[in-house]
């Protein structure tokens, strides 16, 4: 036991004496969450729009009022023909045009349905998506709240996609993703680099010649990173809760338990990476290109998985972060318990066992 404590102590010395490591461990999580929370925001404010109202009746006016009163949109111009729509877009000021079909109110009352066309400037796909979704949501709530209460059987035309994010807050999307990214970085990348460094410097050889068994060596190396990852996770959750007012609907203990599971998974992945890399450079590159980029691009963190080509969707299904993001979103925003996310949890457990098994196998091969 004494040997083990000495080992862990030594590992902490490494961490605390290396300013770069310290920066990655403690600066990065805070910087990332603040950047994602404040700057890379999905929220929109004062987007300029045009309206082409072919009907000009009391309902189209009311909907127009709702949209401009929402605070997200500013009515920049009223358009009077199809041709003007394209011209308006080309001037580059407006991002969206809303077109009401002729005889809107009449049709609605007669047929129970009427059409609104939402045209968004998709040269900026992300904004276009968000803007059109906001518009749909506003129209939808109008239909639901104002028309339904009059007892009229009107059809709800737009679908609401941001069901659990009523205020359409971007932070809700970024916190789970950032958490996955940071934990991946700290647990997998830092662990693999620190083990690879021992190989590079030859100290691993000395450790393996000593009476210490390989398993305690690996555990001793991993424990400090596990502890620091956990601290990081707590910092991220606290920041998102206190600074960005992200709710924690579900059980905090359950959230932390799932986080710990994800940390375990990332650590075993880091160990696996270190078994195939002989120096820090290799470990770093594998971590960067095999872990971080896919985690950012394919886990659903920034780009929705449903919009990916089929082949990328398949690849994304082997991204551990994808499942963790689903788990965190479910617990924090919807307050789900294990009943809802048992499948994702099981997948993470499976991955952990797989990575650990692979590492042990690789390790044995090396000793042969």
């Amino acid at each position: 036991m004494n040997r083990f404590i000495g080992f862990v102590k030594k590992e902490f010395h490494h961490i605390f004496r290396d300013s770069q490591t310290m920066l990655i461990l403690f600066g990065m999580p805070i910087a990332q969450i603040l950047i994602f929370g404040y700057i890379v925001s999905n929220e929109i404010n004062d987007v300029k729009i045009g309206i082409y109202d072919k009907s000009q009746d009391h309902i189209t006016h009311e909907i127009t009022n709702k949209i401009t009163a929402s605070g997200f949109f500013i009515l920049h111009e009223n358009l009077n023909s199809e041709k003007e729509i394209e011209k308006a877009f080309k001037r580059g000021i407006i991002r969206e045009v809303i077109v009401f079909e002729p005889n809107f109110a009449e049709k609605l009352e007669r047929d129970g349905t009427a059409g609104i066309q939402i045209i968004a400037d998709a040269s900026d796909v992300n904004t276009a998506n968000i803007v059109s979704n906001y518009t749909k949501a506003i129209i939808n709530s109008y239909v639901k709240n104002e028309l339904f209460t009059q007892g009229l059987p009107f059809e709800i035309i737009p679908e609401v996609r941001m069901l659990y994010n009523d205020e359409l807050k971007g932070v809700y999307m970024f916190v789970p993703g950032t958490m996955a990214l940071i934990l991946m970085l700290v647990s997998a990348m830092m662990t693999s680099i620190s083990i690879a460094r021992e190989k590079e410097l030859g100290t691993m050889e000395i450790l393996l010649v000593s009476p210490l068994k390989p398993l305690p060596i690996v555990i001793g190396k991993v424990i400090p990173y596990m502890a620091l990852s956990f601290v990081n996770a707590i910092v991220i959750i606290a920041l998102s809760y206190f600074v960005f007012e992200m709710p924690i609907q579900g059980s905090l203990i359950f959230l932390l338990a799932e986080t710990l599971l994800f940390i375990f998974m990332a650590l075993s992945l880091g160990i696996l990476i270190s078994t195939v890399s002989n120096n820090q450079m290799v470990a770093m590159f594998i971590s960067m290109f095999a872990l971080l980029l896919p985690t950012i691009l394919l886990s659903g963190f920034i780009f929705p998985i449903e919009n990916m080509p089929k082949i990328l969707q398949w690849i994304s299904s082997i991204m551990p972060a994808r499942y963790f993001i689903v788990i965190v979103k479910n617990i924090m925003i919807k307050g789900s318990g294990i009943g809802v996310i048992w499948k994702e949890t099981l997948i993470l457990v499976g991955m952990t066992i797989f990575f650990l098994g692979m590492s042990i196998k690789k390790f044995k091969v090396r000793l042969e």
């Binding site: 004494n2 040997r3 000495g6 080992f7 030594k10 010395h13 490494h14 004496r17 290396d18 410097l201 030859g202 100290t203 050889e205 000395i206 450790l207 393996l208 010649v209 000593s210 009476p211 210490l212 000793l367 042969e368």
Partner: protein
Amino acid sequence: MLKHTENIIEVKNLVKKFGNFVANDNLSFEVKKGEIFGFLGANGAGKTTSIKILSGLSFPTSGDVMVAGFDVYKEREKVKKNIGYMSQKFSLYEDLTVRENIRFYGGIYGLSGKYIKEKTESLIERLKMKDIQDSLIKSLPLGWKQKIAFSVAIFHNPKIVFLDEPTGGVDPITRRDFWEMIYEASDSGITVFVTTHYMDEAEYCDRVSIMDQGRIEGLDTPAELKKQFHAKNMDEVFLKIAR
């Protein structure tokens, strides 16, 4: 040579293959207790493979290997307790101080804190390291790293210490100082198993084995080897074998 009678390493028919490549081809030799045994050979002759097997880092494909009275295959843990190892990289932790390195390496051999403390004090005294005891390893010159790495390798009083090219990259004076340390260790009863590229160092050894292409081609005292190969010095012996 009454001093060296008991065998501390016994190797019989050791074979190590990597796929089709035979790194160690049927090696048999003994190392006597307390001697300084030189293990020579060109790069790729199979020295490192043998030293890895002897120190329990790698398993033999076939053959019997006894180290310090234990079978390296079946009693790896006991072997490990009784050996020390120093690689050509002078593997110390660069971001730990001299003291911390000694403390750490002593700790992994399960030595008690009190023992480590006492022994560290006497070591610092003996090597005159008072001024550098709290410096980080990375700030020290190579010669110091070498001395400290060696002291660490024999800190737990092993029966045998394996030195894998321990004098690579250091100047002649430091090299001679280092051999003084090797003699001291040998005098205190530690068997020294050393690989080297320097033929003048081969002359310092009690016995020398010379490997070529996985086989031991010569094994005797430097004087006998020179006689056997009709050579003026070890350099010539080596060239005759390796060519």
